[in-house]
């Protein structure tokens, strides 16, 4: 029973990791840039929602706050690519890595200045309620997290395989030049992918903040999600979710059953093992580069 309880809460955590990792992978696939600030995007999305919904701030209805914060995060992602990252075209990956790390610092600083460094929790209509299935007690927030992740995954899948825009995004990420020749506005598509990834990060942030408290340094969670993305294989959307679930489940189980200290190490240890033995991740997509 204990085991199932841990598994369920791990699953809910894993969904948040998986969603952040999904954001990384979207950006990486589309632009080959690695967004080290994705965790901070998640944090910012959560804080924007807190700013709209909590009584201490604006105190609007939760159901208006959620779409508004998702919208603001996608605008933020779009503008960041449009205003900053696009001008980095042709520069080394190191420069982009450092740039996004610096962006993370700025977002952390901004969130801390606007909403204070104290941990806050998102006030939701369903806070504190839980359901019990034959001895296993699950919070509504946890169940909702899993359901939202499943819905989001399915709709993203349909979006990428059925809609024109989704297909254009796929084309632009597979071969920019060919996509450009086909009349796809690659630059705008890339900004849109950033916007999409910002929206996904906002959803992850809202799920995270409704489950527990969030503070500006919560963005460091992104590093775990990063490990999740790499475990799954950097270019694979289902891989990112799977990696997130693996890390989410391993964490509570190892802190319960393994000696102390192991649970902090476990996600990164898995990452190192995967990188060493299966360098491309579980869903490996790396191929040999030709001259």
């Amino acid at each position: 029973m204990d085991f199932i309880q841990l598994l369920a809460s791990g699953l809910a955590n894993g969904c948040v990791y998986g969603l952040i990792a999904l954001g990384f992978v979207l950006i990486y696939k589309a632009t080959e840039a690695v967004n080290f600030a994705q965790g901070d995007f998640m944090m910012l999305g959560a804080f924007i929602c807190v700013g709209f919904a909590n009584e201490d701030f604006l105190g609007w209805s939760f159901w208006t706050a959620v779409p508004l914060s998702i919208f603001f995060m996608s605008v933020f992602g779009y503008l960041f690519n449009w205003g900053v990252l696009r001008h980095m075209f042709g520069r080394s990956q190191t420069a982009i890595v450092i740039l996004t790390i610096a962006l993370g610092f700025i977002l952390r600083f901004a969130a801390g200045t606007i909403w204070s460094h104290e941990p806050v929790s998102l006030e939701t209509p369903y806070a504190g309620k839980d359901v019990s299935f034959g001895g296993v007690v699950l919070g509504i927030d946890e169940i909702l997290g899993v359901i939202v992740t499943i819905i989001l995954t399915i709709s993203l899948f349909i979006f990428f395989s059925k809609t024109k825009l989704g297909l254009a995004m796929q084309a632009a990420s597979q071969n920019q030049l060919a996509a450009y020749y086909m009349g796809i506005p690659v630059k705008r598509i890339q900004s849109m992918v950033w916007g999409l990834s910002g929206a996904v990060a906002a959803v992850a942030g809202i799920l995270f903040a409704s489950k527990g408290a969030i503070d500006p340094s919560a963005g460091l969670l992104g590093i775990k999600a990063f490990a999740a993305a790499a475990i799954g294989g950097f270019g694979s959307l289902p891989g990112a979710l799977l990696g997130g679930l693996i890390i989410g489940i391993v964490e509570p189980l190892s802190s319960r059953y393994a000696p102390p200290g192991v649970s902090q190490i476990a996600p990164y240890a898995i990452l190192l093992v995967v990188l060493i033995f299966r360098p491309g991740g579980i869903f490996s997509q790396t191929q040999k580069k030709k001259v």
Binding site: S92, T113, F226, Y268
Partner: protein, 368 residues
């Protein structure tokens, strides 16, 4: 305007390009040698201690510069190698190894362990290396806690004094001696660095940075080159870590955290990627900014009665400066200095695009 007429092949790899350059470096050397005298007469060695720690960070940044600036491999885990160097140095010292030997051994062991860790990842491209080193950097604190019998874990470890053939050096008892020890080590490392860059190995570092495929086509063994670069880089960082330990006097599991790794990376970017000078410029900037912010704050509160007390302001400012540098001055402070110098050297003939990269294309690692 100076034109260096090269009459021998050595002119390309000489220490100094021309006599004037050599003259200015010797002036700098003499100034650095004489610097403690000034503080001695002032009888206030606080600032000297700050300069010493800037030099220690410059050594660590040189280690990272070799890897990131010259070989093109980003590492987010150089604080780990500093930690290894620091702890190994203390462990050797406590075993009774003389300081000179333990210092060098600590660096070499850190380098060897670092290479062993990085070897499997080096086959992959940049992002994975950044990721693996980041994971390594996060795990450092946890491993220090796990290895408590040797490292002292959370309660920390006291670093013994430096003793070179009976000549005792302690940062607090005698900051002047410590300054000279660090200065000499820094100079030795700069000379070694310069020498590595003019060997075939050093040339292949730059070749790998500029294009892995063409380097391979020229017969360069990628794995050997990358792992040698990693070894040298981690060794240098380990040496810097050992010095940092002596400078701090006491280290715990929280001393070498991720922020320190990222700071090192920020240093070399602000200083100028790909230049030895850049490591020093970056370290100086990171030494000055906190002091400048503190001074500016006290100036505002005393003379204008404005109290700014925003937590995390330093980090936010670092980040803004860093983004500005990446966007507008990718060559860093040293690059800016090069441009200014070239402007005056060529006086009426300097053109705006002189330092522009010839090729700007999407650097892709995928099959196209």
């Amino acid at each position: 305007m100076r034109f260096v007429f090269k009459t021998s092949y050595d002119a390309d790899i000489n220490w100094f390009k021309h006599k004037t350059q050599a003259f200015w470096y010797f002036v700098l050397f003499a100034l650095m040698l004489a610097l403690p005298l000034y503080f001695y007469f002032l009888s206030d060695a606080y600032l000297l201690g700050e300069i010493t720690s800037v030099m220690i960070f410059a050594i660590a940044a040189m280690g990272l510069m070799l890897l990131t600036g010259h070989t093109g491999l980003p590492s987010l885990g150089h604080a780990t190698f500093m930690a290894m160097g620091c702890y190994l140095n203390v462990i050797y010292l406590n075993l009774g190894v003389p300081w000179l030997l333990s210092f060098v051994l600590a660096g070499a062991t850190a380098g060897a362990v670092g290479t062993l860790i990085a070897l499997p990842v080096l086959r992959l491209h940049g992002v994975y290396l950044a990721l693996a080193t980041l994971a390594m950097s996060i795990l450092t604190g946890d491993f220090i806690v796990i290895l408590e019998p040797w490292t002292g874990g959370i309660s920390g470890l006291a670093v013994p004094d430096i003793s070179i053939f009976g000549w005792e050096v302690n940062k607090y008892a005698n900051p002047y001696r410590f300054y000279y020890v660090v200065l000499i080590i820094a100079i030795v490392i700069i000379m070694a660095y310069r020498n590595v860059l003019r060997t075939p190995l050093g040339r292949s570092f730059t070749a790998v940075r500029d294009s892995e495929i063409s380097a391979q086509a020229m017969g360069i063994n990628l794995t050997v080159t990358k792992s040698s670069s990693f070894f040298l880089s981690a060794t240098t960082a380990g040496l810097a870590g050992a010095l940092f330990g002596h400078s701090a006097g006491y280290v715990t599991n929280e001393t070498f955290d991720v922020v320190m790794s990222i700071t090192l990376l920020m240093m070399i970017v602000i200083g100028g990627l790909g230049f030895i000078h850049g490591a020093f410029f970056g370290a100086v900037v990171f030494g000055i900014i906190p002091v400048a912010i503190a001074n500016g704050r006290s100036l505002l509160s005393t003379s204008f009665d404005i109290n700014i007390n925003i937590p995390g302001l330093e980090n936010g400012m670092f980040a803004v400066i860093l983004i500005a540098f990446i966007l507008f001055e990718p060559m860093g402070l040293y690059g800016r200095w090069l441009k200014i110098r070239t402007y005056f050297e060529l006086f009426p003939f300097y053109r705006k695009d002189m330092f522009r990269r010839q090729k700007a294309y999407l650097k892709t690692e995928r099959v196209q």
